[in-house]
Symmetry: C2
Subunit: 240 residues, 2 copies
């Protein structure tokens, strides 16, 4: 199995952090990352964690989602809502298949948003895939820890059922991909593609989707960045 990290973003209720830790340990997951939690550590978190207080004790806090997933090769974000741009949405079962197919050395982040509002579009942009838990369309807001429980349950089943298999080449980490996207935006701007366009964020979002689905290898990123650099050099030459 790859190394699986559960990331909770700006959780309001410490009880939910504890209950999520319990749900994780029940399914054999131990790595918890918290992005700007409102109250942590907190006695309610400890109480609801029950015997999973070791998971809480090892939890790492981060200032931003980007920081929490910087070293991950695969980042999957939960999403309750349908969005305008069609996101590649996985079910928990498909997500578990994808995760267990990762090579053992890889780090995978499963990201869960705020209790009320979930993840922002900007945070979902940091994810290669979206994850949606099928549920009653008339009442679709799962409790945070309940959502973690369902996803962790599918991961546990998949981990028992499937041998892991993956690509030979090392996939790019999240930080490498973010540098690439930054480079891409600069290059597109340099060559005048994004220049006067209000649509820049939307275009970058579509490109992220595209590359996100492709699961770029490190050497592919290097190659693409080489291409971008060439394009930039050409643009700067003309401007001179």
């Amino acid at each position: 199995m790859p190394q699986i990290r559960i990331v909770l973003v700006e959780t309001s209720h410490p009880g939910n952090i504890g209950a999520a830790a319990r749900a994780m340990k029940n399914m054999g997951l131990y790595e918890l990352a918290l992005v700007a939690p409102k109250c942590f550590p907190h006695h309610e978190a400890t109480a609801r964690a029950a015997g999973a207080d070791d998971v809480l004790a090892q939890a790492r806090c981060h200032a931003s989602l980007a920081e929490a997933v910087a070293d991950c090769q695969l980042v999957i974000g939960t999403s309750a809502r349908q969005r305008t741009i069609q996101w590649p949405l996985l079910t928990p079962r498909q997500c578990a298949e994808k995760v267990t197919a990762e090579p053992p050395g890889h780090r995978v982040a499963l990201v869960f948003g705020r209790e009320r509002s979930g993840l922002t579009n900007e945070e979902l942009d940091l994810c290669q895939f979206g994850l949606h838990i099928p549920c009653n369309p008339d009442y679709s807001s799962l409790n945070l820890a309940a959502a973690v429980q369902v996803v962790a349950y599918e991961l546990f089943l998949a981990g028992k059922a499937m041998p892991s298999e993956g690509r030979e080449a090392r996939l790019a980490t999240h930080a490498e991909l973010e540098s690439f996207y930054l480079h891409l935006a600069q290059a597109l701007n340099d060559i005048g593609f994004l220049h006067s366009s209000k649509q820049a964020p939307s275009i970058m979002r579509r490109l992220r989707r595209l590359f996100g689905r492709a699961r770029l290898e490190k050497r592919e990123v290097d190659m693409l960045r080489g291409i971008l650099s060439c394009a930039q050099r050409q643009a700067h030459k003309e401007a001179e």
Copy 2:
């Protein structure tokens, strides 16, 4: 789909009842039965139910598990522990397949035990099948509402995926089966099979398992009871 009832037995923490109601409604389940809950109604139950307070408001309280499942054709009880006698244990996915294969008119009860100690052996005797959620062997105690969430999630998926199909003949209700088991025990006693045996409870338990797996039809129960009556008449004749 058959009519699905979630039954919670002697729940200690009202918050868990509320969280279970929310988990149910998220997955399109609305029928909740409570057997001797410690505190209900309770403000913590209402708070944790969030938008599922309608499920709480409709919940029915019962004095015993037998009463709560009397009108059900299929009763499935969750079990965390391995027991001496091998119970026919289902995974949540197998359970969902079995439940969705029931005819539309049938009533199905899914029974969840106490937070600390689960269901007693006597309560499991009232169930035709056991249900075990696969989990980390080193930390296997799921929160009650988390367990309801996993089972309800599998039911929701199965309900969307599978057309229901069932037998033509009406299956026996729980109450009809209990009358049969009582008759059976009396008959076995009458014919001297259970007479001087300390093993009577264990023997009855094995017989329950056997008939439970068979899913008796009403007309089969009538037939079996006809046989028992004959055996009893013979026994009484010899005794005279």
